[in-house]
């Protein structure tokens, strides 16, 4: 059976201010895959993800997207929760509703399209509908993460991209969030990319692994990557 390639790049370099953090990157992301972007702190994982999402330009090369019109797929982005300032007086519902902002056309605004059912469904899928009226800034780390996943789902994405979703969260909550991602992937047929500096906790979850280390990035199927050169060494060290 042919697998659909959602995105690919050849010999690309990613970094900031024209300085490459990752060079000579070749990869293909299959639709429906669960890609773990792994590596130590400062290895370029987040730089890769931010470039992939179009938040920063590539130093060299670019991504080609396998959509019908060649445009990027719909992204559902879950940033590191610490990036969001708690000064904003937003309820959980307000935060999740932001995911629907793609559709705020002037005519839709005038027609007053009701997005509440969509937002509530996403909150329910993530198990946080009962918190809808609570202030977002009052939530625990795990609850915030679930709300941010619900917000990303409200964008009705083809691809869910998560940046360090398990950082600063206790182990029980980490497990529950990983279970949530597994079940969302199955139910919504999502492609998922997840950045993590913790190799061991999530390695069984991924269908593919993009390993970033020492200015290079190597991608392969999860099983192959476990026995691949430097990546294999690091995996074994951690295991």
């Amino acid at each position: 059976m042919d697998t659909k390639i959602l995105a690919s790049c050849k010999n690309a370099s990613f970094g900031y201010d024209k300085k490459a953090v990752l060079s000579g990157v070749n990869l293909e992301i299959e639709a429906g895959s669960f890609v773990g972007i792994l590596g130590h702190n400062g290895s370029g994982k987040t730089t890769f993800l931010r470039t992939f999402l179009g938040l920063i330009p590539a130093v060299r090369g670019k991504f080609a997207f396998g959509t019908a019109d060649g445009r990027p797929p719909r992204f559902g982005y879950v940033p590191q929760k610490e990036r969001l300032d708690p000064i904003y007086p937003l309820s959980v519902y307000n935060v999740a509703k932001m995911g629907t902002c793609r559709k705020f056309g002037i005519f839709e605004r005038l027609r007053g399209i009701n997005r509440r059912p969509l937002v509530e469904r996403c909150l329910e899928d993530c198990g946080v509908l009962h918190l809808a009226h609570r202030p977002y800034s009052d939530l625990s780390g795990g609850q915030k993460q679930r709300v941010l996943i619900a917000r990303a789902l409200a964008a009705e994405p083809d691809l869910l991209a998560l940046d360090e979703p398990l950082a600063g969260i206790d182990i029980t909550t980490q497990k529950s969030i990983l279970e949530l991602l597994k079940s969302l992937k199955k139910r919504r047929h999502l492609t998922i990319m997840l950045v993590s500096h913790r190799v061991q906790a999530e390695k069984d979850l991924f269908s593919h692994i993009l390993w970033c280390d020492e200015g290079a990035a190597v991608m392969g199927k999860s099983d192959d990557m476990l026995s691949f050169g430097r990546a294999g060494e690091v995996f074994r060290e951690e295991l």
Binding site: L84, L90, M98
Partner: protein, 294 residues
Amino acid sequence: MIETITEILKPDFLLHNALCASVLMGVVCPLVGAYFVLRRLVFWGVALPQIAASGISFAFLLQGLGFTLLAGSEAQERHLAIIASALFTFAAIAMLLFMERKGKGAAEGRIGVFYALAWATSILFVSTNATGETEMTSLLRGEIIAISPHDFHIMLMFFALAGLAALVFQKEFLLVSFDRDMAVTLGRKVLAWEVLLYLLIGTAISLGVMTAGPLVTFGLLVVPPMAALPWAGGIMSLSLVAAALGGLSAFVGFYFSYAKDMPLGPVIICAACAALIISAGARKAYMLLARIKA
């Protein structure tokens, strides 16, 4: 007290325009000022009104040097001052944003330099122009009383537009302020929305400074949103509560200024600060009561 309030609310009240201008500023400045507070740009709120005042001072300098392209009548002089004020404000916003994107040096330091330079030039530009010096002194003191019907109508038009845009586009402004990256991944034109937001901020500041001076403008940009923040459950409630508190502070300030014969601008700011203190105290009491009930 009731007599005085009835008197100042009459349409034929001598200072009717000054009252309306004060309340209008009190309502509209917090609508854009809320984004200063949320984006933690309060120092911008200090520096930009002073930069706008420097622009007005520069207009006086031009007049003193004989550049009367737009100036001539008193109304044209004020048009020149408004244009210079807006140009200085927008140029400063563009420069501060450019430097912020470059990310070199401390942001507070850059704003401090702009503020110091703006203060110095506000004084220097009018140092050879006696009329300008008097006008600037009154502007820095926040004298709204002298506003003419013509100026009031210009202010009403632009402030109404700025206030309306701040309310209509608040979802977009909130999204690009709260999570710029998310906005990009949703395909929103982040730069365009940010430019529009800063245009509104620049317009409110330059017209506000022209009308009431930098002190009142800064105070009304920042203090009412801070007073409203503990009670807000969303950006709409923050905007509406801040606008209501700003308008109320302006009205109360106007009342005391008229009744006790005090300078209007500083009294408005004291009223806004009193609202902030009352709001913070009431919030603490409310939280304490809620805890006792629980």
